[in-house]
């Protein structure tokens, strides 16, 4: 029944960028359906320490229309690899505090193994192709994070110097 209702919605309600707090229950509700016994979610929260450095808060920015398209594309990729999976993804932008939820990925499948695999696939792809960027605000400066591995900040060259202290 949820499923029926879901199918009639536009894709954009399943793959959304928002500047408001994300309701976990709401994202999960989009994928729950009688045929599915397993739902996995991934909830990305703002971590306080990265490589020992303390984050005060984050700023997320997106190229919104394209980001929603790319999220929907990830949904299609998942449908090809896991035909029985149903996916919903919401990513938040704007200013986020420590432990705030930045992204929720919900995947339902008839069997649980697929739900884990498809979910993990989604987060990996988000970090590869969805035009969203985060700016770290530390105690001693700011920096746009520029690679998916989160191991080092992207070298910005000489501009942006005014942001670094």
């Amino acid at each position: 029944m949820d499923y029926e209702r879901g199918e009639k919605r536009s894709m954009s309600t399943f793959f959304t960028i928002t500047d408001q707090p994300i309701s976990l229950e709401e994202v999960v509700r989009k994928v729950i359906r009688p045929e599915a016994g397993a739902v996995t979610t991934f909830i990305g929260t703002v971590r306080e320490f990265t490589n020992g450095k303390r984050t005060l808060f984050l700023q997320y920015e997106a190229y919104v229309p394209m980001a929603e398209k790319m999220l929907a594309q990830i949904g299609e990729e998942i449908s090809k690899r896991w035909p029985e999976a149903k996916v919903a993804i919401t990513h938040r932008i704007g200013k986020l505090a420590i432990s705030d939820v930045a992204v929720v990925i919900a995947v339902s499948t008839p069997h649980r193994k697929d739900a884990y695999e498809a979910n993990q696939y989604a987060i990996e792809r988000i970090k590869q192709i969805v035009p969203i960027w985060k700016k770290e605000h530390w105690e001693d400066g700011t920096e746009w994070v520029g690679n998916q591995l989160e191991t080092k900040a992207y070298p910005t060259g000489k501009p942006e110097g005014e942001d670094l202290i």
Binding site: G44, A67, K69, I129, P131, W144, G146, E150, Y154, E160
Partner: protein, 76 residues
């Protein structure tokens, strides 16, 4: 007219999130080279989307195109 969009650190580097240019070079690659020269930037790791879809360097630009410069993404 062609619209150029900049995000994240590129927006800071260029100093604006949007530039409207009357004439642009033929291809995505040529446009990148020109911006690199004009703003002293390294755009090797920057992807380009034309009308909200990732485009190759060979892609020919047309009037009305929206060209977005996508630094390495860091969502999630």
């Amino acid at each position: 007219m062609i619209t150029l969009l900049f995000f994240a650190y590129l927006k800071d580097a260029i100093g604006t999130e949007r530039l409207d240019v009357a004439h642009a070079p033929m291809t995505v690659g040529q446009l990148k080279r020109q911006l690199e020269a004009d703003y002293n930037l390294d755009l090797r790791h920057v992807m380009v989307a034309v009308n909200e879809e990732y485009a190759l360097e060979e892609r020919t630009l047309q009037q009305g195109d929206i060209v977005a410069f996508i630094p390495p993404v860091s969502g999630g």
